[in-house]
Symmetry: C2
């Protein structure tokens, strides 16, 4: 790493927040280092499409290097930050190399949270955060159908054809909807011994309604749409235990056993561990909240370090109304954009004083291949129109990437053919002789 | 597995041979079981495109179930054959389930062969047979560039930017050519500390010429084209040792050390182990030749069992001129087609007597994105026209699959943009909790 007199900016994490921050710094006379453990930006909102065989990983991931090829003030580094040294203002990578910074943006996001049962439940119920998570879920779902086709034991067959999705938020709803379509439509004629349409897809939700952050009318529409696709929705149901061949849930205080070989986790996230590392380096352990997020001020900076910012899912930002902003992509993008702009002005000599303001453009979730719900302020939409809005917004975002046309094309193809061309069972082999995924 | 009075046909392996055989049996009043360890047919000739980030795995793989969705006389079974019982005419799957057959076709192909050094060399120099091989090579090649960008040690950087491809046959030439394009074109502007164009791509070949099965003029053209792309060709060079950070080769009797962190194997294949199992079950160990292939008669059947056929790379078929047919896709396809037709006529009561005849339509290999060599009888072509012929023939074959349009589109896109959109470093994580890849 060479050194120069230009202000040094380090951005950790190439997700929505980090990307937006780097983009906002385009053309500014600084040197940016974007550090990520992976060599690509991942469009997480479409991961469920990979998990259900509708899209290929490369359709929703773009190499960071190629995104920033033409932005000459940034260098991408594949690496894992393991610690911070705030007295000499450096971050330390996994191979003990230190990189100095004048401005630091930490944007490493969140990971799965199994309510204290991480070690036991993670292997049994993969979540949906990474490409590997998605291909692993795809492998498990497809393998269950394959095993069901081969078994003559009817009870085992029923268990193999039961899929449990835990968590009735947008990810859980999208996942359940797309497994329904996979089983009931795409694979309809593919088997000889089993009828894939007999597969049960069960969505388990703690509270009274799925998608409970939405207006009750949308939540009810989503429930109806999801049931129309063939899913069962078990509301007010709490997951007690997960085993390889069954789960135990609690409904109205009664424990109930459900035979299943495939459980997918969409229930909880927690901030990634780097937040805690930062708080430790700051010697202010209270800087992290209960779910591991780093408390930031109105400029997304941490206490006492106006040039160290935390954005996106890793940040706990209190809106003027007292609520902490949710861990969604638009918050990360807007914070990244804001912090980038703030740094650009700072290096030019005048740090702005105005605080970050979140503009909530609304929320949306899809239910299967042609239905969605959209909520933006007082506007509420559902059905096909909402799905077109959803599609348009996602395409617009993906349009920043070079692989946009392919995704559009593959969607269109799947839409007209009701097929899923990426139904591959892969990765089921030891292969990591020179493993380079870096620890967090 | 239910039983019926219809003739039972088992096809093991859904590659070129097995697929062609099943297709040829369309509409015949039999029950076919196609057993494969993977749930997809893989178009192996384009694997190198996956390994170099040009195509996604799903672009060159199609789920077997969806290929045969409409052929009602076939059931696809995900499974691994572990043994044969010829006295009661059954094959035994990995879970000890036996399936009875009246006709058996074994078409499980070949695997890498490291000249007796398999255990040591396979982890150091992956070959190119499976989707996982291809994504592993992609991961290693891309990771080497990433590490080179981060290191300040110039010797280490040079070693990281040296790529060795072992074997100057079509696979080695295609692999070397596409790494050249990746380094010298696609990633040209992607790095800040290194110049990817300085990467050395070295093709090591034992004999005097690469592609030595072709006419010497084509072989020389390919050499020139590959050098124009930036590859070094080390002819008459024998690989002696592979280590994690260097290789030792022998040139003219002198040992030479070459620093490299990435070695790709394209030098040898051997028949897969099921051939030996079949010979053991037949109690005729001489049925397999030196490279593990099963010796078959003029109808592709094995000695004493006219209804047991071995086709494709696993078969040693002697042509009338005494030569054993090569392990290439056209041989497998034609044998599969022939055996399928033979069985169709047999079950109708009249087994034909004519032997299998191979029609050699010629061979071809690509060198980078717009050059190829084609040899068909006395016709020899090279350059752009040969590449268009190569492209046309491959598209025609892929056109049988549903994902044909996507591949065409992605090729076209890569061609005009000189980009590679599938440059993802993935799979670098332990993930196989319920591993289903089955042993051979």
């Amino acid at each position: 790493m060479h050194h120069s007199t230009k202000p040094q900016v380090i951005v950790i994490g190439g997700g929505f927040g980090g990307m937006a921050c780097v983009r906002a710094l385009r053309g500014v006379d600084i040197e940016i280092k974007l550090v990520d453990r992976r060599n690509f930006h991942l469009f997480q909102p479409l991961l469920y499409q990979v998990a259900s065989g509708g899209l290929s990983p490369a359709n929703i991931a773009a190499p960071l290097r190629s995104i920033f090829r033409r932005q000459k003030n940034i260098q991408v580094l594949l690496g894992s930050v393991v610690d911070f040294n705030l007295s000499d203002r450096t971050v330390i990578l996994e191979d003990q190399i230190s990189i100095p910074f004048d401005y630091l943006i930490v944007a490493t996001g969140s990971t799965h949270h199994y309510f204290g049962r991480d070690a036991e439940w993670e292997p049994l119920a993969p979540g949906l955060k990474t490409i590997e998570d998605a291909t692993e879920i795809r492998r498990r779902v497809l393998t269950a159908f394959e095993q069901a086709e081969r078994t003559v034991d009817l009870a085992k067959r029923a268990s193999l054809l039961t899929f449990v999705v835990v968590g009735g938020g947008p990810t859980g709803v999208e996942m359940a909807g797309s497994i329904c379509e996979l089983a009931h439509q795409s694979m309809k004629n593919d088997f000889r011994s089993i009828d894939p349409a007999s597969a049960r897809i069960i969505l388990i939700e703690n509270s009274k309604l799925i998608l409970d952050k939405y207006h009750v009318s949308l939540s009810e529409t989503a429930t109806r749409d999801l049931k129309a696709l063939g899913a069962e929705i078990w509301n007010e149901t709490r997951l007690l235990e997960i085993f390889t061949d069954h789960v135990i849930v609690s409904q109205g205080g009664n424990a109930k056993r459900l035979e299943t070989n495939t459980v997918i986790w969409a229930a909880g996230v927690k901030a990634c561990r780097l937040g805690k590392k930062l708080a430790d380096a700051m010697q202010t352990p209270n800087q992290v909240d209960r779910s591991g997020r780093v408390v930031v001020d109105s400029q997304c900076a941490v206490t006492g370090h106006p040039n160290i910012f935390v954005i996106g899912d890793l940040a706990a930002f209190s809106a003027p109304n007292g609520n902490t902003l949710p861990g969604v992509a638009p918050v990360a993008v807007q914070q990244g954009d804001y912090v980038g702009g703030l740094i650009a002005k700072s290096v030019r000599g005048s740090r702005p004083t105005q605080p970050f303001q979140y503009w909530d453009k609304g929320n949306m979730a899809t239910i299967g291949r042609s239905r969605a719900i959209v909520e933006a302020g007082k506007i509420r939409m559902s059905g096909k129109i909402a799905w077109l809005v959803w599609l348009f917004i996602h395409i617009m975002y993906l349009a920043r990437f070079e692989n946009r046309i392919l995704v559009l094309f593959q969607w269109f193809w799947n839409y007209i053919s009701r097929n899923r061309t990426a139904r591959l069972i892969t990765g089921a082999k030891e292969q990591n002789v020179q493993d380079v995924t870096l620890p967090h």
